[in-house]
């Protein structure tokens, strides 16, 4: 005979469902007296990389008896940016959140200062990446902790065999997997780069350099501009376009270079260059090792010929495009001291190395002293392929981000609207004159500055 399902039975079943729901939530630890803490982190491209933060979180939460929940939100469809915007508007949500390069400036007013955390970390590990500092500091206060997870450089990722064959460049010898430059490394400048681009274009394996409106395009063009000393504004945001010879010089260079690129680079997104390399159609892209990592899985014959080298140098030096994540603590968060303590823990050298190892060397820690993790020496094939991925002292290079030193409120608009690639495209694709394109650039910048 069937058992009667009474009120008590229903209560018991309900409690069971509730318990199952609670246990199923992505909580990394749940027996704390240190309160609850919830973070939204960027959902890493590299499979399994989120596990580094999960494991670190679990370790820290257990030690500090905090109920820590980690959510990993992806940037496909700008989900993470939308989450940050919604939480900043509603002043509720997570305790801390991953913020893109310019978002720290956008939300500075609702972010808790974290100078205490940063100062302790700087005391231990030395100076922090200047670009990360430029982006995370507002009004003299740090409004976020530069993150390791997800932060990337975008140096040239070359097909060593194709460059040797078609351009006569032995990039492995120029930039070996050692703390030294090889022969001809000093000749690695934008002129050499242009000749190699032309040679590879003729050979049917053109450089895969995006020129659209996505970050990969804006970032490498930003590095190019910086190496010519070409700035479009000063520190106050005043346009510095009229009579700017460096700017004219670099735009002219980029227009000449674009003739040797695939004719559809104006529509490329952040995955197009990866595909160009992995498919064997391109001899060079500017990218973190993710493209190589996918090639290792899908096209091993491509991966074993990949070699990452520093950026070419321009008249003003060598500048490496850098795209950092910063983790901010909302000022309206309920457990700010615990949030800061957690961020300090995951920023320590051991944690940063743990995170970078999980990402196969993709993640770049914000402290310059941490450019010596073993993973960059040991990853392969070929072993040493990403040795020169982090910026090392012998590269004689500096980190850069497009549109610095403009004030972040203005720089973020110029960056998101990709003014640097558009000015090149107007000439190269749209057939405008240099003067007309630069006048347009000045008008756009002046317009963006209006409205406080």
């Amino acid at each position: 005979m069937a058992k009667e399902f009474g009120r008590r039975g229903a209560m018991r079943a309900g409690a069971g469902v509730l318990a199952a729901g609670v246990l199923g939530a992505p909580m990394v630890h749940a027996q704390g007296s240190g309160g609850n803490l919830r973070f939204a982190f960027w959902d890493h491209w590299v499979p399994g990389s989120n596990d580094a933060l999960r494991q670190l979180g679990s370790r820290w939460a257990e030690r500090n008896r905090v109920n820590l929940t980690l959510d990993f939100i992806n940037t496909t469809g700008n989900q993470l940016q939308l989450t940050a915007a919604a939480q900043a508007q509603s002043r509720s949500g997570h305790d801390g959140i991953s913020l893109g390069p310019w978002d720290v400036g956008a939300y500075a007013d609702v972010l808790e200062p974290v100078d205490d955390v940063i100062n302790r970390l700087i005391q231990k590990y030395g100076p922090i990446n200047p670009v990360a500092e430029f982006l995370a500091k507002r009004g003299g206060a740090w409004r976020g902790v530069p993150a390791t997870s997800g932060t990337q450089n975008k140096p040239p990722l070359c097909r060593a065999d194709l460059l040797q064959q078609h351009a006569g460049l032995d990039v492995k010898a120029m930039w070996p997997a050692r703390q030294e430059k090889g022969p001809n490394a000093d000749q690695w400048n934008w002129d050499t780069f242009l000749r190699a681009a032309e040679a590879c274009h003729k050979a049917g394996v053109p450089f895969g350099l995006p020129m659209g409106q996505f970050t990969d395009a804006v970032d490498w063009v930003g590095g190019l501009f910086a190496s010519y000393g070409a700035r479009v504004t000063d520190e106050r945001g005043n346009p510095t376009i009229r009579g700017n010879q460096e700017l004219r010089q670099v735009v002219d260079y980029a227009v000449r270079l674009s003739r040797f690129l695939p004719n559809d680079v104006w529509a490329w997104d952040d995955a197009s260059n990866n595909r160009a390399l992995i498919s064997g159609r391109s001899a060079l892209v500017f990218n973190p090792p993710s493209a190589w990592a996918v090639a290792k899985r899908d096209a091993p014959q491509v991966a074993e010929n990949c070699w990452t080298i520093p950026m070419p140098a321009g008249p003003r030096g060598r500048f490496l495009a850098y795209l950092p994540w910063t983790t901010g603590v909302w000022a309206f968060g309920r457990n700010k001291s615990a949030a800061k303590a957690f961020l300090e823990f995951i920023s320590e050298r051991e944690s940063a190395e743990f995170t970078t190892n999980f990402s196969g060397g993709y993640d770049i820690p914000p402290f310059l002293s941490m450019a010596d993790f073993k993973v960059w020496e040991t990853e392969g094939p070929p072993v040493g392929t990403i040795y020169n991925y982090p910026l090392k002292p012998h590269h004689d290079a500096q980190y850069s981000i497009a549109f610095s030193p403009a004030p972040p409120e203005l720089a973020s608009q110029m960056y998101i609207q990709a003014l640097n690639t558009k000015v090149i495209a107007r000439i190269s694709q749209g057939g405008e004159s240099m003067d007309s394109a630069l006048n347009w650039l000045e008008r756009e910048i002046n317009n963006m500055r209006r409205g406080g």
């Binding site: 409120e409 973020s412 756009e444 317009n447």
Partner: protein, 310 residues
Amino acid sequence: MADGATLALPRVEAPPASSLRRFARRRSSIAVLMTLPLIAVIGGLVLWPASYAIWLSMLNRRMTAFIGLGNFEILLDSETFRMVIWQSVFFAVTAVIAKALIGFWLAHMLHHLPARGQRKWRGMLLVPWVIPPALSTLGWWWMFEPSYSSINWILNIFAVPAVPWLGEPWWARISVIIVNVWYGAPFFMIMYLAALKSVPDQLYEAAAIDGATGWQKLRYVTLPMMRNIISITVLFSLIVTFANYDIVRVLTNGGPRDLTHVFASYAFQVGVLAGNIPRGAAVSLFMFPILAVIAFFVLRGVTRRSREEM
């Protein structure tokens, strides 16, 4: 036989109804009560966000000061935004005309099919409309993709040179319109099919007796009978197409050189991604008064015609 006088009952005065009961008995009160949930939903999900967006569009970038129509003035000074206006109008008008024509043609074809076959074709032709546009656009993106376009692959088989679908401004604009038409035409088709089915056969018979040709039947019978449905469908589609976001976002992200941006994609870029929420709100509200005026006149015409027909 009882006379009427003996059956007459003394008149009893009804007890005075309570004011609550009187209130409940009034038809208008009941109507208000019944519509309250809907009013609450509209207020919470339409009026409040719309008012908030209007308020936001009048603030400065930091949202600390009221600047009136300043954001609109700045936008109109921007070359890029003027281009976005032109593109949005071109995109919406071209796409709506194409959808209306294709939808009308499909509806006619279906209307003349036998009932059994019609159901099968109707189901198949509705498929584009029921797939979430973000997903179907992704499929189109794979076909147009700059480097590995499957359409180009087929063209190359027939020795036709590859087309830079998303890299060249006009091709990119056409690609965006093609996807929107592909997605939206079935909606027109189903609306027009319903309208066609409601046209009485006697009208066509009378026209045939008068010696009307096929074109004359279409011009003087079908179109006048479908006028209201056509007006409402075009208006609805115009509003939705002006607000389109996902197709541009997935296919071109507004590129190359902002030449495929429409209001919604540009508003998202300026407002959320570049952190200028008030200006983004101003972009998204730009078409609101114009569309409101168009909607007023179209709906007034529909109401007038409906009254005439009654």
